[in-house]
């Protein structure tokens, strides 16, 4: 969120339309629509799952490659299994995001 208005989540790609950790979302950022993955939420989480002071999202394109090169915030370790389950052979590969993550909490 370098400059301008903070990104705004327009749609959550799941049945209940409520975003949880690891969900794919459509984000309106600087006048464009981008896809992203929720990596940290202010929402109350289960036991042993970290909760953050701000909602964090990593922008990705359609086949799962992150647009940026560095992730500033720590990533919850539970994301590794969630994203692994979500990646199917033919579909987008979400685990690329994990490779550029610096710190796991």
């Amino acid at each position: 969120m370098a400059e301008g208005k903070p990104p705004k989540v327009i749609c959550v790609y799941n049945k209940k339309r409520i975003g949880y950790i690891g969900d794919r979302v459509l984000v309106a950022i600087k006048g464009q629509k981008k896809k992203g993955i929720l990596v940290g939420l202010k929402q109350i989480q289960n036991v042993k799952v970290p909760k953050f002071d701000s909602n964090n999202v990593v922008l990705i394109d359609d086949n799962g490659t992150p647009l940026g090169t560095r992730i500033h915030v720590p990533i919850p370790t539970i994301l590794r299994t969630i994203l692994k389950e979500r990646t199917h052979a033919k579909g987008a590969d979400y685990t690329k995001l994990l490779s550029i993550a610096t710190k796991f909490v």
Binding site: Q45, K48, P50, K51, F52, H72, P74, T81, F104, V105
Partner: protein, 300 residues
């Protein structure tokens, strides 16, 4: 003549009867009196001086939920037995809200299958096997909070890096405070207090960020916050006065319904404290040789 004789004998008889009844009553009352002294319970004040009652600060989760609808002595006994079994496997140290802890858990999702987190304990709630505590830390300028179950079998170790208390019993205002008050380095070495010193109370007054806040901190009587008044507007002060409930301090039954009475507590601690002592002594023997380092003056 006969009449005359009969009358005195009658008097003597009734007098004798009266004497006998009086004696036996005296005797019996004597007997009762001696019985009563032994039976007389310990005075009420003495019941409050029982040393085992101090355990309630160290192990608050052993006291059951005071709601009478859920109270059942057998279920509580089974729960306490399970808690002691779990405590025999892992050392759950004495810690309070405000002490800095390092928790290592075996995490199936992480690479090395273990996950270590350091943070200040901002909340400790729940009772029995549901007891849980929350650690908060700022990592790479991002506040992170993690909730742990005290009796979760995946917890490998809980280590107290700095044992201290704060002025409040919930530190939720750290979320709105400046980040320096909840940043703790992951490689912080533990500060061992010399044996038998009382738990220090850290009287730091935290500075809050400007509004908007997560909660209306001015309405909760918080002692550990410095600059609440400067962020308040006039309408907040007026609303604070409206919401005040000065009578709840004197509501004896509300306080009674939130606490476990002394008699139940002495029963609980009587059943539990010798096992807890043995666990403590066995742990102390293992850590005899650690060097005692004086606590470094650290911010926050």
């Amino acid at each position: 003549m006969a009449l005359v004789i009969r009358k005195p004998t009658f008097d003597i008889l009734s007098a004798a009867k009266w004497m006998i009844r009086k004696d036996c009553r005296a005797l019996s009352s004597l007997v009762e009196k001696t019985e009563e002294t032994e039976k007389r319970p310990v005075g009420r004040r003495a019941r409050f001086q029982n040393p085992a009652l101090e355990y309630r600060h160290i192990f608050p989760e052993f006291l059951p939920d005071p709601n009478p609808k859920w109270r059942n002595s057998l279920r509580e006994k089974m729960e306490r037995a399970d808690m002691l079994k779990r405590r025999s496997q892992i050392d759950i140290p004495e810690f309070y809200v405000g002490s800095v802890l390092a928790v290592t858990i075996s995490d199936p999702h992480a690479q090395g299958k273990t996950n270590r987190f350091v943070g200040i304990c901002i909340e400790r709630k729940g009772c029995g096997l549901r007891a849980e505590f929350t650690l908060r830390n700022v990592v790479d300028h991002q506040g992170v909070e993690i909730r742990y179950d005290l009796y979760d079998p995946t917890i490998q170790s809980i280590q107290v890096l700095r044992l201290e208390k704060r002025l409040d019993d919930k530190l939720f205002y750290l979320r709105d405070a400046l980040p320096e008050y909840s940043t703790f380095p992951f490689d912080m070495d533990p500060e061992i207090l010399p044996e038998g010193t009382p738990v220090p109370v850290n009287t730091v007054q935290v500075k809050l960020k400007p509004r908007p806040w997560l909660e209306r901190w001015e309405r909760q009587e918080l002692k550990g916050v410095a600059n609440i008044e400067e962020h308040l507007k006039e309408k907040d002060r007026i609303r604070r006065e409206l919401r005040k409930t000065p009578w709840e301090k004197y509501d004896l039954m509300k306080e009674y319904r939130k606490t476990i009475p002394v008699e139940d507590q002495t029963e609980i601690w009587g059943e539990v404290h010798n096992q807890l002592n043995q666990l403590r002594l066995s742990r102390k023997k293992m850590f005899k040789k650690r060097p005692i380092s004086t606590p470094k003056p650290q911010l926050g």
